[in-house]
């Protein structure tokens, strides 16, 4: 072996060792806290579900609100994501950036902004109040906060998923007689299906874990994240652990569902075609 080859091989070994070291550090930083949390509080939390009515109802409320917010976003956001993905105009590019703005706002600030826009003092809030609705202290406010902070994740990922589907599929469908919306429904939607599903799951998981915006709008009824915080401040770490651990397990459910769906042939790699 030449000196240059030995040098290159040694360099490669150093690079591999550095990458492995970096991976270990990241694993410790990202996974260890979550694993510790589940290990210490998971079993207790699951046992408490049967006896702790407040915990059970907070999980139910969290799931219901996250599901409602996600369904609303999928319904309203998918056509918008399609328009943004297919448009070549600068306006669409600017609109995409604006719609991602909520991702950059600190979540309590997002809550304050929502309160300003839809609280009782605002015109929209007055209109809601006249209809017997309020975003303060209600599931409506929870859903709205979830939609605001997690919805842009869906929009962005759905736009990406649709962009990955070659627009010529749609164009061929158009020349075969489809209107734009029919081509999008018959061709683009199934081809982007896995990406859209993943986007919805990510949004749902993010919505379930939201705290900052919700706590500004609706402390009661308590979603799981607020309940966890409430028990931590009132009773300490041991009381908060079971709630926090169950919340983590709840967020894991959709991820596992998504993994199992990926194994289905229908969704496997369709976008690559």
């Amino acid at each position: 072996m030449t000196a240059a080859a030995r040098h290159a091989r040694a360099g490669h070994r150093v690079a591999v060792a550095a990458a492995a070291g970096g991976a270990m550090v990241l694993l410790v930083l990202l996974l260890v806290p979550v694993l510790l949390l589940v290990a210490r509080g998971g079993a207790t939390g699951l046992r408490q579900l049967g006896s702790d009515a407040e915990l059970a109802s907070s999980l139910l409320l969290t799931s219901a609100c996250a599901t409602a917010a996600t369904l609303l976003m999928v319904t309203l956001g998918t056509p918008l994501a399609w328009v943004l993905a297919r448009s070549e105009s600068r306006v669409a590019g600017g609109l995409s950036a604006l719609l991602e703005l909520p991702l950059l706002i600190p979540h309590p600030v997002a809550g304050i902004a929502l309160l300003l826009a839809f609280g009782r003092a605002s015109p929209a809030g007055s209109a809601l109040a006249a209809a017997g609705l309020s975003i303060v202290g209600s599931p409506l406010g929870i859903g709205l906060a979830m939609l605001f902070v997690a919805g842009p994740l869906y929009l962005s990922a759905a736009r990406e998923a649709i962009s990955r589907v070659d627009r010529r599929y749609e164009q061929v469908a158009r020349t075969l007689g489809d209107s734009p919306s029919r081509a999008a429904w018959r061709v683009t939607r199934p081809l982007a299906g896995r990406g859209l599903l993943a986007a919805a799951v990510v949004m749902w998981a993010r919505a379930v874990s939201e705290f900052g915006a919700i706590v500004i709008l609706t402390y009661n009824p308590k979603v799981a994240s607020v309940l966890s915080y409430d028990r931590f401040t009132a009773y300490g770490l041991d009381a908060a652990l079971p709630v926090a651990a169950v919340l983590v397990l709840l967020a894991l459910v959709p991820m596992l569902v998504l993994r199992s769906l990926r194994a289905l042939p229908l969704l496997d790699g369709v976008e690559r075609s």
Binding site: V172, R174, T175, L176, S273
Partner: protein, 349 residues
Amino acid sequence: MIRLDGLGARAGSFHLRDVSVEIARGTWAIVLGAAGAGKTTLLETVAGVRAASAGRVMLRGEDVTRLSPERRGTAIVYQRGYLFPHLTVDENLHYGARDGAYVASLAARFGADVLRDRPVRSLSGGESQVVALVRALAPRGDILLLDEPFAALDPRGRTRVRRELQALQREQGLTVLQVTHDFAEAGTLGDLALLMDGGRLVQSGTPTELFRRPATSTAAEFLGAENIYAGTVRRDVQGDAEGPDALTFSAGPLTLAAIGRVAPGPAHAVIRGEDVALSRDAQAHASARNVFAASVVEVVVSGVVARVTLDVQGVPLVATVTTAAAHALALEAGATVFASIKATAIHLC
């Protein structure tokens, strides 16, 4: 019938500009051009999947420039086929069709019937192209836009699909606009050839006209002319009102007698290799105006054709002859031969 009036379109930073052409009903038009010439953009603008930025698209005498693709009655087949991978081959074939029996007959005619039960992803490139072609024909449109539709087919399949499509086109009077890089295909199928360059239509005419009389030296080079010389033209004898002039073209030591309608001054002379005749005897070319003694530089045999590179007074000249003729003349590097070119075979542009 397809008529384009000053058609323009944009595809990213690429611009299709000022394309005007008329393609009669039942015509098979071939679009030629280098990569990036605007061929696919032209097809997409006619189909309506790309918006026109200028000019008009007239189909069957109707202005369809602002009409959506689904209302134009055109079908497009891309080189990749773009079969819908989430559907079966059978569902693809029926996608835009209204008459199942017609789809079945088309599938049988083009050999796609045996593919109906196959998953789309298991199809080869050529099989995908056949299915895509049948799918495009199934709605019974009368204008077919083809973007290198036979490129992935094996030679046998290509011959069969071309033959069937040509027969169908004649039976139904289909107007076809086809992009191809295959000059032989252009000569075989095309009634009309369009040459694109840099987003513009630089020449249109029958394939023979295009190949024999390219409008520019760039067009000649793209169309595979072996000999292109830059030089100057002098008019020797003025022709009558409709006839050509007698001209002399000079490029360095090379002086050629030619006829044509070209203004005196800088020009290019284009000579196709098959128009250069070779012999061992100067007297063999009694009627040819241009006879040169030349030495053979190289002989490259490719099947039944030999490409012979000559040196004529320091100027390279390429002749294509049959391999049998090359053997008969005992052509080899260093041999001396006489090359002759008829004045009528020299195209000045």
